[in-house]
């Protein structure tokens, strides 16, 4: 089930997938819509086994220029949305005998990056939240893990490159090549998510799996 505020986009994406894929409108900050998405999924497929908390937004500008309301809005989506979806998915996951929650965090949750104050704070919160969920939900057979990608090629990075170069005076491509070798791909993130959702990761819970080409391993 593809859940998105852009339900038409979700329907388009669902139609391109093999197998039975469907779409539902869901604003992760609105409890009623989250409950509706969980119910729609259970009704369509007879249950729920995996929740991927992916919905997120970014702001890339200096901390002092973050608007008061947009800062709160970012936390509402990136952290509040993870909370909301996890909370309302747990009964459905437990009913099927357990399952897996995979949260899309970021290396921005492990270290600071200029211009990303709200984003970094939100992803650090997601990692910690994941750890508590893992402990609390273990007895219900629900695992909770996070993935932490570095810069991945896609629309979010495209939007940020200009701001990044202007603020840091460094070429984005040079930074990526030096720090993480290359941009990651969305498919690579998907592989790690799929792994964490699978039985091969049966004893993995409360963890955050990093895919960053060595970015966080390096001191310099």
């Amino acid at each position: 089930m593809l859940a998105d505020v852009d339900v038409e986009g979700a329907e388009r994406a669902a139609s391109e997938l093999d197998g039975d894929a469907r779409a539902v409108r869901c604003d992760v900050t609105v409890a009623a819509e989250v409950v509706g998405a969980v119910e729609a999924t259970a009704a369509a497929f007879g249950g729920l086994d995996v929740l991927v908390n992916n919905a997120g937004v970014e702001i890339s500008k200096p901390m002092v220029e973050h608007g008061d309301e947009e800062f709160s809005r970012l936390l509402a989506v990136n952290v509040g949305g993870v909370f909301m979806c996890s909370k309302y998915a747990v009964p459905a996951l437990a009913e099927g005998g357990g399952g897996a929650i995979v949260n899309i965090a970021s290396v921005a949750g492990l270290g600071g990056s200029p211009l990303l104050s709200a984003y970094c704070a939100s992803k650090a919160a997601v990692i910690r939240f994941t750890e508590v969920c893992a402990t609390e939900l273990r007895d219900q057979g629900i695992r909770a893990n996070a993935v932490c990608p570095a810069f991945v090629g896609g629309a979010m990075v495209d939007r940020m490159v200009g701001d990044f170069e202007a603020a840091t005076g460094q070429g984005f491509e040079d930074v990526v090549a030096a720090k993480q070798g290359r941009l990651g791909t969305a498919e690579e993130v998907a592989e790690t998510v799929a792994f964490l959702a699978s039985d091969d990761a049966a004893f993995v819970t409360g963890a955050h799996y990093v895919l960053d080409g060595g970015l966080t391993a390096a001191l310099l």
């Binding site: 994941t130 893992a134 004893f203 409360g206 963890a207 799996y209 960053d212 080409g213 060595g214 391993a217």
Partner: protein, 250 residues
């Protein structure tokens, strides 16, 4: 997941190493089962399709160099090295002899160093691949009575990070695997000492900390992921498989 790949697993005749070797073979890899005990290595290899057993003392550089060179000679390439061989001791720091400390480090740290040193270039020469080092969650938090073991595993995580950076441009990924308490013979051997020394019932403590013992197959599943192209953007990281043990403070 590992069709056509050639993999070496040190300490592959028992415990986690054996489970990893079995899984790799099941995924289609040609596995070189290396162990200090040559007979056990050969016996283990016989249980798998297309595997072979090789004697190797990972403390000896000549042995490790020959292990890697031999694998390349016989199979034409090396894609994966699992630096798994390790030993453990139990006892307070204040009662640990320097001799025992050094003996443990010679296996757990020197051995991993030698495997990375020799396998890195061989894997690079085969067009790239993956090294998986066997660390432990004791690299991340203290456990009374396990100081030498924990320190060696923390050093393995550190070595993994630097090696990953050095080998990145050659297409060699290096990641550490950090299991929690797994139901291995190694843990069974130390169980009484740990329970007595820590004043705990291990079963009960682990039930609380990580939902019980993990299985060797649980670790092998993550080891397969890290050796495969499924983890192609991951390098220099530590991958925890511990049932949540390190996720909780209490």
């Amino acid at each position: 997941m590992l069709e056509g790949k050639v993999a070496v697993v040190t300490g592959g005749a028992q415990g986690l190493g054996r489970a990893v070797a079995v899984r790799y073979a099941a995924e289609g890899a040609t596995v070189v089962v290396s162990d200090l005990d040559a007979g056990a290595a050969e016996e283990t290899a016989r249980e798998m399709e297309g595997a072979e057993g090789v004697a190797c003392d990972v403390r000896r550089e000549a042995d490790v160099a020959q292990l890697v060179a031999g694998a390349v000679e016989r199979h034409g390439r090396l894609d994966v090295m699992v630096a798994n061989a390790g030993v453990s001791t139990v006892g307070p720091v204040a009662e640990t002899s320097l001799e025992d400390w050094r003996e443990l480090m010679s296996v757990n740290l020197d051995g991993v160093f030698l495997c990375v040193k020799h396998a890195g270039p061989a894997i690079a020469g085969s067009g790239g691949g993956a090294i998986v080092t066997m660390a432990s969650i004791t690299a991340m938090a203290g456990v009374p009575l396990l100081a030498p073991y924990a320190a060696s595993k923390a050093a393995v995580v550190s070595l993994t990070k630097t090696a990953a950076l050095e080998l990145r441009d050659q297409g060699v990924r290096v990641n550490a695997l950090c299991p929690g308490f797994i139901g291995t013979d190694m843990v069974a051997r130390h169980r009484a000492e740990l329970e007595q020394g820590l004043g705990i019932d291990l079963e009960e403590a682990l039930e609380h900390a990580q939902g019980g013992f993990g299985s060797e197959a649980d670790v092998a599943g993550v080891a397969a992921f890290l050796a495969s192209e499924r983890s192609s953007f991951s390098t220099g990281s530590a991958f925890v498989v511990d049932g949540g043990a390190t996720a909780s403070l209490v």
